[in-house]
């Protein structure tokens, strides 16, 4: 069975391009456009990996991460932060709160992002 990835990202074009690239690698990809629906989708579909943006409508990525790591059912799911925020404070904060990896979108080619994801699932 193919692995399921949930992509929580408010920019539809990014969802579409990375989603497509991941599907080509044989992953199943679902997406959410805001933090709140992302969180409820996690609880429903139990993905194998979560890609999480930090600046999101309704509930930001920091809060989503906190909720995920508080809940015994979801805290084991690896979370890759995929964002364009890059201050050391932001990076340190989410990594200390349990994010598995932190990728600054602007610094990565599509292939490199896919590679980083493949390392985890």
């Amino acid at each position: 069975m193919s692995k399921l990835i949930l992509f929580i990202e408010d920019e539809p074009t990014l969802q579409k391009t990375l989603g497509r690239a991941l599907e080509q690698e044989g992953y199943e990809v679902q997406s959410a456009l805001d933090g709140q629906s992302g969180l409820s989708l996690v609880r429903r579909i139990k993905p194998d990996l979560i890609l999480l943006d930090l600046i999101l409508p309704k509930m930001d990525g920091f809060a989503v991460l906190k909720e995920l790591k508080k809940d015994d059912n979801t805290k084991g799911i690896p979370v890759i932060i995929l964002t364009n925020l890059e201050s050391p404070q932001d990076i340190e904060k989410v990594l200390s709160e349990g994010a598995t990896n932190y990728l600054v979108k602007a610094n990565y080619e599509l292939n490199d992002v896919v590679k980083k994801i493949k390392e985890l699932v």
Partner: protein
């Protein structure tokens, strides 16, 4: 030093530490200082005025007036600094959001063109690939420009984040060379890396240090005479590692050498030979080296070439 650190951790001053405002400009600190000053002033005015007059009413009046004046002047100053702090805070937040919002569409563009180029949606023809390359290249330039402008803003606010760690200078130089290799190839430039393996580790920020190397090497390549060599070498000098990047390119006119590290400055030679460029590279490089407690300088002769030197402290 330790006392200073404790003071900086105090909640009243935390705002200032986070926004990298010095203690002497911190409203919280100034407020406390003002209070102490006022107490001292009241006591000394009391002492002085009791010597001048025997009337307790007049003594009280003088004391009150003097402390009131100090208080009013002080409040005005503190308020001014408070405004400064707020403005700084807003600017920081703006940078944080702008860097996110400006770069997000560029990321979309980059990833979409990557997807087309890798042939994931059907293999592009050679001609299509050529145009995709244009999109990608322009996207890259735009991204670099935004990153540079954000860096400049951070530098001007005195808040260029540096994570200093012991790092191997040779490895950084090698990574930088990989970054600039395509440009060197396109311009017929041979890059010579002459760094020994046994050099001690330097104390620097890996990303920023790599930026210094790529910027200097890229300049050497861009301002070449169509072909040539760039020698990158490093040696130990006391407590520092000194690096040099030497080219045999067009050089910098003597009259303009003093402006070379200024923001947005581009020499006549630079404009003649290479129109693409913002004049931000060396400004950022110098700021990185300065923050790293190092030094940067150069020697240059028109039509003969330029050598940039920089030194960074060795990790202890």
């Amino acid at each position: 030093m330790d006392g200073r650190k404790i003071v900086k951790k105090f909640p009243l001053f935390r705002d200032c530490t986070e926004n990298s405002i010095s203690l002497w400009q911190c409203p919280g600190f100034l407020f406390v200082l003002l209070g102490l000053l006022n107490i001292v002033a009241m006591i000394s005015t009391y002492i002085i005025s009791t010597r001048l007059t025997d009337e307790p009413e007049i003594t009280a009046l003088i004391t009150i007036v003097v402390s009131l004046i100090i208080f009013i002047i002080g409040s005005v100053i503190v308020q001014g600094f408070d405004k400064l702090l707020q403005a700084n805070k807003m600017k920081m937040e703006f940078i944080r959001i702008a860097s996110h919002q400006l770069r997000t569409p560029l990321s979309s563009l980059r990833w979409a063109s990557d997807l087309l180029m890798t042939g994931g949606l059907g293999k592009p023809t050679a001609e299509q690939e050529e145009y995709l390359e244009i999109i990608k290249e322009s996207n890259h330039r735009m991204m670099k420009l935004i990153n540079d402008l954000l860096d400049v803003t951070k530098i001007e606010m005195g808040n260029l984040p540096m994570e200093l760690r012991p790092i191997e200078i040779k490895k950084i130089a090698e990574e930088a060379i990989v970054d600039v290799a395509p440009l060197a190839k396109a311009k017929n430039i041979v890059l010579n890396l002459k760094i020994e393996d046994a050099l001690p580790l330097i104390l620097s920020d890996q990303e920023k240090c790599r930026m210094v190397f790529t910027n200097l090497i890229e300049n050497s390549i861009k301002y070449s005479k169509g072909r040539g060599t760039v020698d990158i070498s490093a040696r130990q000098k006391g407590d520092y590692i000194e690096v040099s990047v030497a080219d045999d390119g067009v050089g910098i006119p003597r009259a303009q050498q003093k402006n070379i590290f200024q923001k947005f400055f581009r020499s006549d030679n630079a404009m003649k030979h290479e129109t693409v460029g913002t004049g931000l590279g060396l400004f950022i490089v110098k700021a990185i080296i300065d923050t790293n407690k190092g030094q940067i300088w150069f020697t240059s002769e028109e039509n003969k070439g330029t050598t940039f030197y920089f030194k960074i402290p060795i990790a202890k």
